[in-house]
Symmetry: C2
Subunit: 474 residues, 2 copies
Amino acid sequence: MCKGPEVEGELGQRGTSQLLINFKLHTQPFSLFWQQPCCYWPINIMYVSSRPSHEHCGRPCCVPREDVLTGGAVVWEDVSEVGSSLSGIINAEKSEFNEDQAACGQLCIRRCEFGAEEDQEWLTLCAEEFLTGHYWALFDGHGGPAAAILAANTLHSCLRRQLEAVVEGMVALQPPMHLSGRCVCPSDPQFVEEKGIRAEDLVIGALENAFQECDEVIGRELEASGQVGGCTALVAVFLQGKLYVANAGDSRAILVRKDEVRPLSSEFTPETERQRIQQLAFVYPELLAGEFTRLEFPRRLKGDDLGQKVLFRDHHMRGWSYKCVEKSDLKYPLIHGQGRQARLLGTLAVSRGLGDHQLRVLDTNIQLKPFLLSVPQVTVLDVDQLELQEEDVVVMATDGLWDVLSNEQVARLVRSFLPGNQEDPHRFSELAKMLIHSTQGKDDGPTGEGQVSYDDISVFVIPLHSQGQRSSGH
Amino acid sequence: MCKGPEVEGELGQRGTSQLLINFKLHTQPFSLFWQQPCCYWPINIMYVSSRPSHEHCGRPCCVPREDVLTGGAVVWEDVSEVGSSLSGIINAEKSEFNEDQAACGQLCIRRCEFGAEEDQEWLTLCAEEFLTGHYWALFDGHGGPAAAILAANTLHSCLRRQLEAVVEGMVALQPPMHLSGRCVCPSDPQFVEEKGIRAEDLVIGALENAFQECDEVIGRELEASGQVGGCTALVAVFLQGKLYVANAGDSRAILVRKDEVRPLSSEFTPETERQRIQQLAFVYPELLAGEFTRLEFPRRLKGDDLGQKVLFRDHHMRGWSYKCVEKSDLKYPLIHGQGRQARLLGTLAVSRGLGDHQLRVLDTNIQLKPFLLSVPQVTVLDVDQLELQEEDVVVMATDGLWDVLSNEQVARLVRSFLPGNQEDPHRFSELAKMLIHSTQGKDDGPTGEGQVSYDDISVFVIPLHSQGQRSSGH
């Protein structure tokens, strides 16, 4: 294993519950800050596999590590205690730095302050009601590691703030129409005509708003520090017996049980979001500055396609039709390429994520941001309703893993590994390591398929059984 | 059974393959025209149930019937021959006229003409290649029957035209990039980099374009004749071994097999399309003319909600959050009400359909059309891949049926009816009738639940087995 780069660190204090760290890495300055250091740890464990064909050593992990955060760093044993899970990260050959970031920790949601004067009595009922959740997050950076680092250090705080703003609604049997306790009883006609909102709808809303808030913070921070970049974000939160998975980007989370493999997220790429992106260009053609064509064709058109009837589709179409090629159709397509090669405006492989506020198409003034959304899609898994088995796990990983392993292959690896390692306290860590090993072209691996991923990969394995136990013990 | 209204009919000829009928109904003039009368029949069978609690007789069916179409009318025995299916329509108490319309028939797709000069040789290969499909459609009108009648008489022609424009691509092994036969062979680098488009993608595209084209025709026709109204559209097309179901509105199609009930469409209502509609109002706030609020609240806000923190959600949210009520939040909501009562701009219960080009919010200039889409969602059922059983059917029906019967209840009725009536040549007709009876509050009916629908109802029962046989015999 190689040593990381030389890092100069400096610790400071910003506000009462924030820890500020300024450090330089390869002469590039970074500012990181933690909120609530007591119950949150950013994690990054450099894990380098031995690869049969490619002799290489890990490139630097651009993350706070032991060298930087004296006394505050977390190794995976600690992670196991916090959230019974693990993150393994591998540096592959795609970019100079590891651009994956991970974070996990407890989420302590305090009673909200506002409205306290208005209805002291109702608030008293839940004054002592603290909610505790668990939080895991993976961020896959692009255009540099800055956005991913900021996200790993900010998103949990945004989420905590958003949850604290609605926590009084969450602890009620049903979130009340009025947060500040002007309680309407179920027999009141006003109540009867109200839509039934559930506590989980507030958590979903909090996640959606937290992603937006975090995106704004990243935009401001990057601009202030003259840095650039963006990242995908995949977040899992265990709260009140449910697992919420929020995804913006192309990472993925799946549930693996003995007889079931269930996707808990879906990917947002220029291909999967084609219609939304084309629709935006249809509504605001000026966003393309006359440089791109909104229409999709099966391949890039060439001059000798002019006048021919060729296959195409527009924003309203899931199917295809034919059109006569005009000169404007020869422009570069808004979405080009297939599969892993698909690019938005020739630039970006994902259509949702955080950051990228300054990102423009090379040599133009065309911005990516209006096409790129920070809103996540949230999936809810009602863990309390599952008859949990000891070996039910959620596997979260950045795209590098899924490029070479299917959901079913990962499930097979999980099922083949866990039963034989029941006594190992680190078996979930070992499983995460093993999953990463399986992407490094080891022909003797359990899949025997020897596929190689050259991307950074981060994996969380979250055993649901221990989460369920926490929940029922609460 | 009651007799329909007095109808004055007049038959004319418009063009070579069009049949024009002008008639008056209750002094209101209607113009109907058929294209390709040889292989297409609009159908409308007035079927009135005896209801235990509500003594009523059928209101007039505003459709071409025997009285109008001398010699050309279709009764359901004929329908059975055409598409092995049936339409039953009941007049309930919601509106003065039956606003449901149905159509079914053969879809004869001829070889396309254009490009013939360019590559005679390639065209020769498929010069004799006529495709024949089957077409079933249900249209549920609102604001009068005019749009539904126009749709029943137009959409199949639009679809045929759209299919004929791409038929050469459909009969190829894989639709070629160039329609006019500048054939690129699979070893050509151009071909290799092309996305793989399937023949079914062309049918989906043709359906999407046909709905748009039909919508434009209806807009022009209604404007020219000073009429108003709109309709939902649910279309099933059996072509090349596949069943395509295109839906714009709140009708529904399901597949019922011995061990399976599969939805073949999903409904488009202000509730199911909330985010798209709110998003449009976010992008174009002027569409609400300051009269509506884009935000969703659990109930209509009142003056005394001002200043309170209340539950709300905006276009980017699937979850809920709280916000402090401002004066502008007291406006009427863009989408209001729940379930069957949900309305778009206080006016319309569906968010997709045909027509309504002139529809405005009462006493305002606010148009419904930009929020209302004519684009259908298309589902493909690969019938050739199913191991078809004699009693596998597709049930298509307007919303009146699904208001009182769930998919599972309909499936139970289908499974309880068909096995005991194997010898009856009209058993699918009888099944459709029975389904409609089951919505009329007959406590002794097979469901025993006695629910009553007061809406017009149309039902098609399409036995897949005979379709599969046609397909394999082709």
